[in-house]
Symmetry: C2
Subunit: 235 residues, 2 copies
């Protein structure tokens, strides 16, 4: 798998957009899309007590590769609340040998109100940098059933955001961009490859081993593997 980021026409940069950047496959694609659309991108990542904190190294590499206007890693310890296998090491991340093992129930890797917290901080950041555009790589097809990845949730957040800020009161509306919302994982990967993304820079795994090696058996790994396989690629 390879990609040539230089094939992207990134100039000139237009208005500012905030891009939530976890370091995974989806957010990398989202960043590439925002850059392709001509935004000056301000990437925002979170050190929230996640067991897969390795993803932040990937986020930093992606931010550099995509020549973002700025990249911030915000500390917000969601592990102090607990309630998720992603932030509580006493809870095991569910594993399976095949993608059919990915359940239809909301799994224990769900982090309470995570996207609401992340989008709220993105909203604060957007207002300060004068941006009206926030990109988030949620998708509601090949996903783990998280409630805060659905379109109706995003629409409600946007409606709230447009009442929440000084900018909103002054008539500036903010838009939450979800370009991946209705794409399958295979379609996301196909789109990203077309944009020249080197996906080997990304980390999707919920439970990586030392050095950030993907486990290959968590929901995120299985959905990723399936997406690449449907593109005729074995990672």
């Amino acid at each position: 798998m390879s990609g040539d980021i230089r094939s992207l026409d990134y100039s000139p940069q237009g208005s500012a957009a905030i891009v939530l950047l976890s370091g995974g496959l989806d957010s990398a694609t989202c960043l590439a899309i925002a850059r392709k659309e001509g935004y000056a991108t301000h990437a925002l990542s979170f050190r929230y007590g996640q067991r897969h904190e390795y993803e932040l190294e990937r986020a930093e590499r992606l931010a550099k590769t995509f020549a973002v206007a700025s990249h911030r890693i915000v500390d917000i310890n969601l592990a102090q609340f607990g309630g998720s296998a992603l932030t509580d090491h006493r809870l095991a991340v569910p594993k399976s040998d095949t993608v059919e093992g990915v359940g239809t129930e909301i799994p224990i890797t769900y982090v309470p109100a995570r996207n609401t917290v992340f989008l709220s901080l993105a909203l604060a950041f957007a207002e300060v940098v004068g941006s009206r555009d926030i990109f988030i790589g949620v998708n509601a097809l090949d996903y783990s059933g998280y409630p805060d990845c659905r379109g109706e949730y995003i629409a409600a957040f946007e409606a709230m955001a447009n009442l929440a800020t000084k900018s909103a009161v002054q008539g500036e509306t903010v838009k939450i961009h979800t370009p991946l919302l209705h794409l399958s994982k295979a379609e996301i990967i196909s789109l990203g490859l077309g944009l020249g993304i080197d996906y080997s820079m990304t980390l999707s795994c919920y439970d990586p081993g030392p050095g950030g090696i993907a486990c290959g058996r968590c929901d995120a790994c299985l959905l990723r593997k399936k997406g690449f396989a449907l593109n005729g690629i074995v990672e």
Copy 2:
């Protein structure tokens, strides 16, 4: 000014509620109301880079006095975004000699998306402790014109929250309680005195001096002073 917190009938404690507790006059009243209504209160405070961090000592004292079920102080550095006189020491907090000096424009003490960030974290905490009730002491009468203190904003946040979480998907609705929303500062103080609150424990000032001494001239101090004066009290 005095109060006897023991005059409150606090037993038995019912279901869990999250109470946003800044250490100021409004949130203290809000906490007293939640306790009076029989909730087991989980207080949530934020160290967000505010110049009036002294308020957190007051929050701790209030939490103890009100015998909360738990009290957490969450670190979330909003100062890294800047854009507010409350988090950026290079910006001066507006001062005036009289309450007529409190402007009608949204002032520079506005912190971008602050209540959205705080309520989002309250939502996360609520889901983990199994609470459906969040109390916030916003009021839209004697206030600084902050957009995220208005009723329509709170309603939109509640609508979003009820799409955001696993609990919501499972049919459990969350309610954002704003018992002070339509009260004047004088009415809030009158209510709180009736509940036995010792307001000398609270700190409203945006720009306290060493030891947490209120400046007496910022919007928060002036509105507070007017509220007490209307109750025939000189603090």
